[in-house]
């Protein structure tokens, strides 16, 4: 997808043990109100264990088929997983179900990543479609990780510009391609 490496020397992080979702006895009742938490939002974005996954790397957005586990997804530029590159980690997702608020902070692996707005837009679209409409969603790049951080953040959180962007067929195709594999 890219002809040359955008990030020649990525920092590689330790893998983390995936914690199991705490199951409540009331979970048997599928109508019980189940507050949306950090892990659920992470799963929406990086569905694993049988679901397909939305996949970002430092230079491009790629969706892979037949992904059974996020740890097996490789960055096309490097033999590392997304988790090891820490583009999005579970800790970067803040959820307040009571306040109907979600904030996702993503970390481009290079500070001039040209795809940062597309990555952010894809995250936003995925969450708009997956979360109840009461949720307010803020998307941002991690502080200090992008050369045009404030411009990227401002654009990603201007709903009028996002609405206009999502009426652009070419851009929608890119987002759809990126998201297609995240649905069953």
């Amino acid at each position: 997808m890219v002809s040359q490496l955008i990030n020649a020397n990525p920092v590689v992080y330790e893998r983390q043990e995936r914690r199991a979702r705490a199951r409540q006895p009331a979970d048997d009742d599928e109508y019980a109100a189940d507050p949306i938490d950090q892990l659920e939002v992470f799963d929406i974005l990086f569905a694993c264990c049988g679901k397909k996954s939305l996949f970002f790397c430092c230079g491009c957005v790629v969706s892979l088929t037949n992904v059974n586990h996020i740890r097996d997804i490789k960055d096309p530029e490097h033999p590392y997983t997304l988790e090891e590159l820490k583009v999005v980690s579970e800790d970067a997702i803040e959820v307040d179900d009571k306040q109907s608020y979600v904030r996702v902070t993503f970390t481009p692996t290079v500070e001039h990543c040209s795809m940062a707005t597309l990555i952010g837009l894809s995250i936003r679209v995925k969450l708009i479609r997956s979360l109840p409409s009461r949720f307010k969603v803020d998307i941002r790049v991690a502080p200090g990780t992008h050369a045009t951080e404030s411009a990227v953040n401002k654009q990603l959180n201007d709903k009028e510009r996002v609405a206009a962007a999502l009426e652009n067929p070419n851009l929608v195709d890119m987002v759809e391609e990126c998201l297609a594999q995240t649905y069953f």
Partner: protein, 409 residues
Amino acid sequence: PCPLCFLSVPKSSPRSGSTDPPDAGEEAAMEAPEECVELKELHRLEGHTDRVWSLAWNPVTGGDGAPAVLASCSGDKTVRIWRQNLATGSWDCTTILEETHTRTVRSCAWSPSGSLLATASFDATTALWENVGDEFECISTLEGHENEVKSVSWSASGSLLATCSRDKSVWIWEVQSGGNECDCVSVLQGHTQDVKMVQWHPNMDVLVSVSYDNSIKVWAEDGDIDDWRCIQTLEESSNGHASTVWAVSFNSDGDRMVTCSNDLTLKIWDTNSNPIQRSDGSHGPWEKGFSVYRGGGAAISSPTFPLLNPIGEMHRRHLCTLSGYHDRTIFSVDWSRDGIIASGAGDDAICLFVENKDGQIDGPSYKMIMKKEKSHEMDVNAVRWNPKDPRLLASASDDGTIKIWQCTY
């Protein structure tokens, strides 16, 4: 116009709800008791299949037992015309304007005579619709903007129309022959980003635009060069906004305006000294200052004239900042004939503000008199007071609904 009950509130009155008190300093920090004013939901208008972006009351309808008419526009690419049924009080969608705009219709505005409706779309065009009885016919399509048109506004006389776009420009159009002929008379460049809204002064040919570049620009016709030009820029360094400015509204006299922003504040501006020739032919202070600057080389090419009149005052002077009332972007603001400012925001709330007439030692101040939490299920994109009945407020939301509220005070 300010209801008396707002004036007798003790300064120590407790704040309601979960809102944090505003910062100390220039902000008004008072609030009236809740029982003093409220917004009662009268009607919920459903029909749009996407978010509703904007609203416009037809200025010549309603009042004296005549049915009021409201236009709404949406991400579903349509405009809906709503008319109140006088027998039942209910609101019916009488017409749907569709298949003209191919993308989101972002803004709509009635001409002062109420006979024409202008609609601005992300499809880069502005359409003019003639209202004949219950029928609407598209009589012109204004083309020229490079991309999304964000807002449209009629001048007080109805002879000028302004549009603005993501292409950073503001266009002024002359409307002739009842709308069948429209000529672009000026393309105004100066904003460095997306222009969000244009609004004409209520009785003078002065235009205000607000932008994603955080600035507010004031435009007027310069007879000497026979063109329109920016006569003032209000930005963060002149007590302006620190993020996108989404909307602007004038009070009924036109001597003040209010703006709202992504920086979560509303700002009130004094617009008293206008750069317009007075009716007796004399010049106001601005013209004198302008004459001085006209031969001034560098000053004339500058897009901003921070100190234009002889006594060194700004034409549009910052009066006060209202902050701490909304938790998310404030998308819309509207100043009622009765002097009440309504704001609608991304926190799903509507707030009402009035001038605080108690002790103006530090100059004019404004105070919140009501916050309606959860006024809609999603972001509030537009609030509009009825021009005939200043106690009626309409609001529009991302939840696809329009609500008509009765304000009791």
